[in-house]
Every structure is written in structure tokens, then in C-alpha cells.
């Protein structure tokens, strides 16, 4: 019981930070909103999707997934900063549960994702995004996105506790996530890629997530997933499998890392 309460105190700390410095929220939502508008109006006109409602219908799931994948960066940078300042050492000297600080952090970043996704969804709606699958499926789609963000956040914990400097954390996470989100079906069809890349893109968790979200938001067109392969036929199953694998690997590794972490 204490373990959960301890983690929630850490989560509360993060939410309190947002309340004390509202700019933090502002900057977390500006970039995703900018991306929605840029992609919608820059590429939207030139990509013919054959999709009723236009490119924005396919774009939104893609950009949602990209954004939650980047949760990893926020988690990593936040933890590196805490480590550098000696806060992790202070937390570790307290009689709290061994996993409270990292669980609290990932929950906090998950909570921030709710705000970010809401802002993006509203922006999308304004520029023409109309999910057609009914309230239940749409809600499921967002839950699906939040869980993916939570899983990615654990990768961020390990990176954040492994590097010494915030700038390294920023660069490392950017290098890790950026190719992953573009080597996918998120923004353009994978069919135009060279064969080996197509193969990677098909099995990329970002692609299965995007395809899964499109399905949950009521789209027929899988946009780029080449027909016939297992991940393109079963994006939801595949995504759930990926999320479980990511968490099964990174939660224990991260908790272990935390319990040995000392700043220099």
C-alpha cells in the first residue's frame, strides 16, 4: 500500500511543478499542435489518400503515436536532471518503496500525456479530423495511446538514469525515437520505401500502433502497411505484444538501475 502512495506523492510533485511553472505545460503542447497544423497543411494538400475526409484522418493517429513515443524523452531528461541535482540520492536515502520514484515519474509523464493528447485532439477536430468509430472505440484508442506512452516512458527511465548530462539525455532520446517514428506508416505510405526499409517499417512498433489506432478510430485504409504481412494484418495484437515486451524488459531494468543510481 505504501508503495502506491509513495509513487503517487512523486507523481503529485510533478503535477505541482506544472502548476508552479505553467510554461512547462504550454511548451509540452505547443510542439505537437504545431506538428498537427504543419503536416495537415504542408503535406495534406499533396498526398492523395483516397480517404474520405482527406489526409488529416490518417495523419492524426500517426502524429498521436509519434507524440506519445516521445514521452520517453521527457522522462529521460527529467530523471537525468534529478540525478544531477542530487534529488535521486535524497529520494534513495528515504524509507520509501524501491520503485516509487520511477513509477511516480512514469505515471506523472502519463498524466501529462492526457493533457497533450486532449490539446492535439481538439486541434485536429478544428482542422477536420472526424473519427467515426463511436465513443467507446475512440476512448479505447486514447487508452491504447496512453499505455504506449507509459511503456515508452520506461525506456526513458533507463536512458535517463544511465547518462550523466541533460543534453546527452535530450540527444540520445531524440536519436532513438526520431527514426523510429519516421521509419513507419505514420506520415507516408511504406510502399514507396526500399524493400529492406519496408520490412523494418512493417514490424516497427510505431507502425503497428499507428495502424491499430487507425482501426480504432474507424479507418479502413491502413495507409502504407503492405498487405498480407502479420503485423499489418493484426496491428492491435502486435502492438499489445510490443507494449508487454517493452514493459517486461524495461520496468525491471529501470527499477534495478534506480536502486544503484548515484550521481558523480
Amino acid at each position: 500500500m505504501h508503495a502506491i502512495l509513495d509513487a503517487l506523492i512523486i507523481t503529485k510533485r510533478q503535477l505541482l511543478q506544472l502548476a508552479r511553472v505553467p510554461e512547462l505545460i504550454l511548451f509540452s503542447i505547443i510542439q505537437p499542435i504545431m506538428f498537427v497544423l504543419l503536416f495537415r497543411y504542408v503535406f495534406g494538400g499533396s498526398i492523395d489518400t483516397g480517404q474520405p475526409g482527406g489526409y488529416v484522418q490518417l495523419l492524426m493517429p500517426g502524429i498521436f503515436v509519434q507524440t506519445v513515443a516521445f514521452t520517453l524523452a521527457g522522462t529521460a531528461v527529467g530523471l537525468t536532471a534529478d540525478m544531477q541535482k542530487g534529488l535521486i540520492a535524497r529520494f534513495r536515502s528515504l524509507p520509501i518503496s524501491r520503485s516509487a520514484v520511477v513509477f511516480g515519474r512514469t505515471l506523472g509523464d502519463g498524466a501529462l500525456n492526457i493533457v497533450v493528447l486532449t490539446a492535439m485532439g481538439l486541434t485536429g477536430f478544428i482542422v477536420g479530423w472526424r473519427p467515426s468509430s463511436g465513443l467507446l472505440n475512440i476512448t479505447l484508442g486514447f487508452v491504447f495511446l496512453l499505455v504506449f506512452g507509459f511503456a515508452m516512458s520506461w525506456v526513458g527511465v533507463l536512458i535517463g538514469l544511465s547518462v550523466r548530462e541533460e543534453r546527452v539525455a535530450t540527444n540520445a532520446t531524440f536519436i532513438a525515437v526520431f527514426p523510429l517514428t519516421f521509419l513507419s506508416n505514420a506520415f507516408a505510405p511504406t510502399t514507396g520505401m526500399p524493400k529492406p526499409l519496408q520490412y523494418i517499417a512493417e514490424w516497427n512498433p510505431v507502425s503497428t500502433m499507428v495502424a491499430g489506432c487507425r482501426q480504432l478510430f474507424g479507418l479502413e485504409n491502413q495507409f502504407g502497411a503492405t498487405a498480407g504481412s502479420f503485423p499489418s494484418e493484426n496491428p492491435l495484437t502486435m502492438s499489445i505484444f510490443y507494449m508487454i515486451v517493452i514493459m517486461a524488459i524495461f520496468i525491471p531494468l529501470s527499477v534495478r538501475k534506480y536502486n544503484r543510481a548515484v550521481n558523480k
Partner: protein, 329 residues
């Protein structure tokens, strides 16, 4: 009864290349203050980290308040307070937010956490700054808040890792006052420092460490005796050198040290300020106005020089820049 015991602690970093602790032995009697004195890289911080459960040693045993640190860290955490070299509080949050958060993490009820926060803010003269974010605090205020956070549950044993490093002279004085008050309350304290003066001010006993082990242990008086105590130093104009030499010889029974280039005459004295006053009086009678006159207390370097035959050396590259800045003061 010993509040802290460390036996034969070993710890290496970078796959054995850096020996941080090399058979360190230490004990602190309950209710007393031990100052751990040493240069950067001597193993001070590593010692604190092992005792405060943050680091598992490669070998050795550590007991805090009767509890084995390595076997039972969670029990140790309930009775210790730790305030680190870098103020470990959340800078985005206010002083109040921080104390409440740490109070809750110590499993105080919301009500108890609040009343403890009010108490501590008052005790550390931070009541007016309570609702301001920490990043607007001065260095001294930040340290005081950090210390307050480590006292939330009234720890039996308190670890302070270089509590005044980086503070200006006034901040240091304030901090010393605060720590002295705490010690009166009966807490067992282990503090690390690079300043002999600080250990002198705060500690009942001093352990000098170098290369990961204790090389000398005693009261500050006994250490100073070993080092040679205070020196009287007088700088005068050239024409007064001869007369001044005579005066210094009258207040000191030891050999004089004369630096012609600096026009400085110095000698060890055993009577401290009495010798200084006497010398000043004699100079005045002769109509000599010294350019500089004072008592020089032995520094960390003097202690090291006399104990080890070498000056305090830096071992960790990354600390070098920081350390030379500290030395400069």
C-alpha cells in the same frame, strides 16, 4: 554506545582502477560530532554514501545505530538524515512544497507533515520564503532548506556532506550556527569538510582521511598540536626587519622563519592571540607600524603536510576545476 561503526570498507570505481575506499575504519560515539576532513577525492563522499545506504561497498561492514547498513538498508533509512554536497531539493517547487513532499515520503500524515513544515521553516528562518520557489533562494537559504528536509523525522544519525562548500562567508557562519544548535539537541552527526576551521568549529573529534582510509584521528587540539598550532606572521617595511625579528623572538620560543623578499617574519606561537597582542604592543612601543600582522591557523594543507609529508592532492579529474575554485577562497 557507538552510533556509527564502519569496519574495513573497500570500494573501487571504474572496474577497480579508482580506489575510493581502501580499508576505511570509523566509529562515532552516540550524541557526538565527527568531522571527516580530507581533500577532494579522498573518499569522504563515498564514505557518506555507504553509511547512508546509497552505495554498497565491495567489502566491509557498516553499522548505524545498531542496524547493518548493507543487510538492512530500509531500516537504516528510517533513522538517518542526509544532506548532500549539492542541495538536493526540487528547485521548481517552493520551500513549503518540498517539506510537505518529503514529510509525506517519510509517511507522516498530511496534518503532521504540515505542522512539521511550519516548525522547521521557523527553526531555519525560512518562514517568509516558504511560498517562494527554491530557485529564488540564496545559496545559504537553499542549504538550510536542504538541511531542514533531512530533519523531518528527527533522525538519530545525521550525515552532512560538505554542508558549507560553495557558500559565501556569511552563509557559512549562518550554517555553522544552525548546525551547532542541532548538535545541542543531541543528534549524532557525521560531517565531511575540506576546511580544518569548519571541523574545528563543529566537531568533537576529527578523522583525517586520505586515499580512502583514516590517517589520523583526534580532537582538533591534539591534531593541531601534531601540526604545530598557530603561527604569528608579521610583514613590515625593510628598515624595521631587524627590530621586528627581535620582537617576534621575544613572544615565540621556536625558531623564526624570515622571508626577506616578502619582508615577512613568522614563528609558531603557543599562546595564540595573547602572543599577537603582545607583539603588537611591542611594535607600537617601537613606533613600528606593521603592513600586516596576524595569526595563521593551520590549514588543511598544513595538516596534510605534517601527517603525510605531501600536500592534499586532488584525485578525481572532474573535481579539479571545482576544487581549485574552492581553494582560491
Amino acid at each position: 554506545m557507538k552510533a556509527i561503526t564502519a569496519e574495513e570498507l573497500y570500494k573501487t570505481y571504474d572496474k577497480g582502477k579508482v580506489k575510493a575506499l581502501d580499508g576505511l575504519n570509523l566509529d562515532v560515539e552516540e550524541g557526538t560530532v565527527l568531522g571527516v576532513l580530507g581533500p577532494n577525492g579522498a573518499g569522504k563522499t563515498t564514505t557518506v554514501r555507504v553509511l547512508a545506504t546509497l552505495l554498497v561497498p565491495d567489502a566491509g561492514r557498516a553499522i548505524v545505530s545498531g542496524i547493518d547498513v548493507i543487510k538492512n538498508p530500509q531500516e537504516v533509512r528510517k533513522i538517518i538524515g542526509l544532506s548532500g554536497q549539492y542541495a538536493a531539493v526540487d528547485e521548481t517547487l517552493t520551500g513549503w512544497d518540498n517539506l510537505i513532499m518529503f514529510g509525506r515520503l517519510y509517511h507522516l500524515s498530511a496534518k503532521a507533515a504540515k505542522s512539521r513544515a511550519i516548525e522547521l521553516l521557523g527553526q531555519f528562518s525560512l518562514t517568509d520564503a516558504a511560498k517562494r520557489p527554491i530557485r529564488t533562494y540564496s545559496g545559504g537559504m537553499r542549504r538550510r532548506l536542504d538541511l531542514a528536509a533531512s530533519l523531518i523525522v528527527k533522525p538519530k544519525v545525521l550525515f552532512l556532506d560538505e554542508p558549507t562548500t560553495g557558500l559565501d562567508p556569511r552563509g557559512r557562519q549562518d550554517m555553522w550556527g544552525v548546525i551547532n544548535e542541532l548538535v545541542k539537541g543531541g543528534v549524532t552527526l557525521l560531517l565531511t569538510t575540506q576546511y580544518l576551521e569548519e571541523a574545528d568549529q563543529l566537531a568533537d573529534e576529527i578523522a583525517v582521511i586520505d586515499h580512502g582510509k583514516v590517517i589520523a584521528r583526534g580532537t582538533s587540539d591534539s591534531l593541531k598540536k601534531q601540526v604545530g598550532g598557530e603561527r604569528l606572521e608579521i610583514v613590515v617595511e625593510n628598515q624595521h626587519m631587524a627590530a621586528t625579528k627581535e620582537i617576534v623572538a621575544r613572544v615565540s620560543s621556536s625558531a623564526l622563519n624570515v622571508d626577506e623578499a616578502l619582508r615577512q617574519i613568522s614563528a609558531p606561537v603557543t599562546t595564540g592571540s595573547k602572543a599577537l597582542i603582545e607583539a603588537a604592543k611591542l611594535l607600537d612601543e617601537m613606533g613600528i607600524h606593521p603592513l600586516d600582522i596576524g595569526l595563521k591557523r593551520p590549514s588543511l594543507d598544513d595538516v596534510f603536510l605534517s601527517l603525510t609529508g605531501h600536500v592534499a592532492e586532488e584525485k578525481k579529474d572532474e573535481d579539479l576545476a571545482l576544487a581549485s575554485k574552492k581553494r582560491g577562497r
